[in-house]
Symmetry: C2
Subunit: 464 residues, 2 copies
Amino acid sequence: MSADSNPMALYEQLRAQGDAVREIKAQKGNKADVDAAVQLLLKMKADYKQLTGQDYQAGRPPTDAVMNDEDHDDGDDQVDPWNVSTSSAKGVDYDKLIVRFGSSKIDQELVDRIARLTGKTPHRFLRRGIFFSHRDMHQILDAYEKQKSFYLYTGRGPSSEAMHVGHLIPFIFTKWLQDVFDVPLVIQMTDDEKYLWKDLSLEDCHRYAVENARDIIACGFDLDKTFIFSDLEYMGASPSFYRNVVKVQKHVTFNQVKGIFGFTDSDCIGKISFPAIQAAPSFSNSFPQIFGDRIDVQCLIPCAIDQDPYFRMTRDVAPRIGYLKPALLHSTFFPALQGAQTKMSASDANSSIFLTDTPKQIKNKVNKHAFSGGKDTVEEHRKFGGNPDVDVSFMYLTFFLEDDEQLEKIRQDYRSGALLTGELKKCLIETLQPMIAAHQERRKLVTDETVRQFMTPRKLRFNC
Amino acid sequence: MSADSNPMALYEQLRAQGDAVREIKAQKGNKADVDAAVQLLLKMKADYKQLTGQDYQAGRPPTDAVMNDEDHDDGDDQVDPWNVSTSSAKGVDYDKLIVRFGSSKIDQELVDRIARLTGKTPHRFLRRGIFFSHRDMHQILDAYEKQKSFYLYTGRGPSSEAMHVGHLIPFIFTKWLQDVFDVPLVIQMTDDEKYLWKDLSLEDCHRYAVENARDIIACGFDLDKTFIFSDLEYMGASPSFYRNVVKVQKHVTFNQVKGIFGFTDSDCIGKISFPAIQAAPSFSNSFPQIFGDRIDVQCLIPCAIDQDPYFRMTRDVAPRIGYLKPALLHSTFFPALQGAQTKMSASDANSSIFLTDTPKQIKNKVNKHAFSGGKDTVEEHRKFGGNPDVDVSFMYLTFFLEDDEQLEKIRQDYRSGALLTGELKKCLIETLQPMIAAHQERRKLVTDETVRQFMTPRKLRFNC
């Protein structure tokens, strides 16, 4: 089939010509060359539109489930593993993200089913749509109903010693899943990734991995059911893990990671091959000490939605190497103190509440930096009411205040103007201070020996 | 600086536009598009020539020491890790290769120096220019003179159970080096590479690695000084090895491996990152069981010249990650029975003498397939003499016949016509048959336990 009648072929031509144009422009080519290259590109775009009825979009081939999600603007929302931003004060439009990523909404039916199967009240993150999207969760539950268990996999990129409260979200929820489903859990610390992406030494990245593991353990995970591993250690401790990495690496091309992650020719080969290392823990035989050589134990990955590109790639590869696709539960982002346009970032001290903050620091940060949905004066506020939808303090309360009725009352009172911004902030401060203090207490009790135990490859308790 | 006056910028444009043209052609774009793209390319090439005074060549940027060796035609010689071919019956022009690769010739002075330092007669591969090129060998010897030792690293890609006599060349020579210098040796079996490049399962590649190790051990390596490792095993057994892999991966871009190895966007990410895995054993702290955390033990790599691209890359990266550059000794190729235009290949049974061949098979193959430099009739041969320079049987004798005088007599007699082709072949057959039989005998004595011992990470004898 010639490109005249083959959308994919024409798409590939356009991609290549687009690269050529960008290169010529980047290198400040002379005007005639730029014009000629652009003319050709425009002509090819017109051909493409005529053939497919659609506008050509970089990174969105006419077919191919793996690549159809990236480089696509929904308003100004940008969501990938390295960037999250939006122009809306309410934060990213998650309903649109579900459509774009091709995942499924966590609806009331699914929440009810989890409640029914586990016999537990659904976690507030489920009740409040903080975990809002999934892939194949019904498949996990179908199997679970038939006494066929699964395992959990989540992770963290240890880019510094400092973790903030936003980092806790997947771990708080994963701990709950572990408790209510009674399943084993593996937690990947991607210290190799941080070394590849950041200007840090291997030694520092590994040290951060161990320090962060301490905070993760302080979330209360069950030693008998939890294995925490650093890539820099576990890769060198498990031929089975490396075998799965190589299997994935054989079945993903540079074109694919370029489409999914936006890598360029100037990226180092470590970044280019890294996605396979985040993919491999999705397959149970990467952990022979837990699952032997079984490949039939499905994996469920709770993570923030920005990590989904890794697992779309993983799900695309899985059947081609004879493995089960991992299922996913996606959370929204934890907003920065300054507003929901970006997520909380450890590299900006004022945007974050750190797990090491004192009660005083928490109070000051919330009072000084938390973006308010209130009115400018008390009078106006009393008259017109505040807007909890853009108020960061209220958003944080939806994450951390357990009592649904109390939260709803705060929402209504804030909207009506009965509750002032200062009072709302006080409410948040009084929720965060004991929560963080308790975390700090638990962390103190995590000894080096405990960390070592969690990070030692070993058998876990697993009923299946 | 605009591309009009910047050779590198123009080179990058040309590269991108070249990719675009290839893509459009590959996808069978319509004629007008192809023409437009090609016209632009030609114009840019003319600009490039005007600016640099040189013809544009893909993969040869105007500057950049790492990339200036590939995709370069010297006559018809092609030499890279996956292809070796030439149009000359004498084989590749190795003097030109030295210039192209920027290595140094192994001259008589170096051979004499090795003899003086070790107190041994130089190996026939050195006496006869079979190991013909080096990098930094004088540095190795300078240090050795000052009682500072080094270690040897060589390897094999196990693509099948069958090894042929050509595969033995680096191992025969490496064993000699190990004996005369009394140094430790690591041998990498790149089973992961073969999985990535070939249509083979991981299990088969690993099995071939172990089977090939048996043949390598049969060359007589000293268990106390030799560690043989499969990547699929050792990567999962040594965090130190993986750390060095990641270090190299951080310091090499896709652009670089594209220039050095000719990778494309359609290659899998495993191939793209693999060169780091072949690089890592060049650094002594990849083997803490042997060298602890020392990084000051220099590495000497005996290998066929087609492996040099991996180590040019390694030498480029080494100082940037704080390591010593490995030194190299390069061998010529072992020619196919059909002639020196290509090297012996395990995938063509008739081009190779296998280590498993019977005396009868050896006799038949040499008689039937070995390309002859003799004349068509006995009368002509007696009158005009034969040409040993293109005669494969004679070439093989230069590899395997130890006696220099006997070899020289054969050469002269063949050239004069005193020795007939049949007689020359008989001479080779009588050299190969006992050599291969002895190898087979030694191989039989290599037990599973012996293989296991060689392949177990452990301390080696090392005086330094």
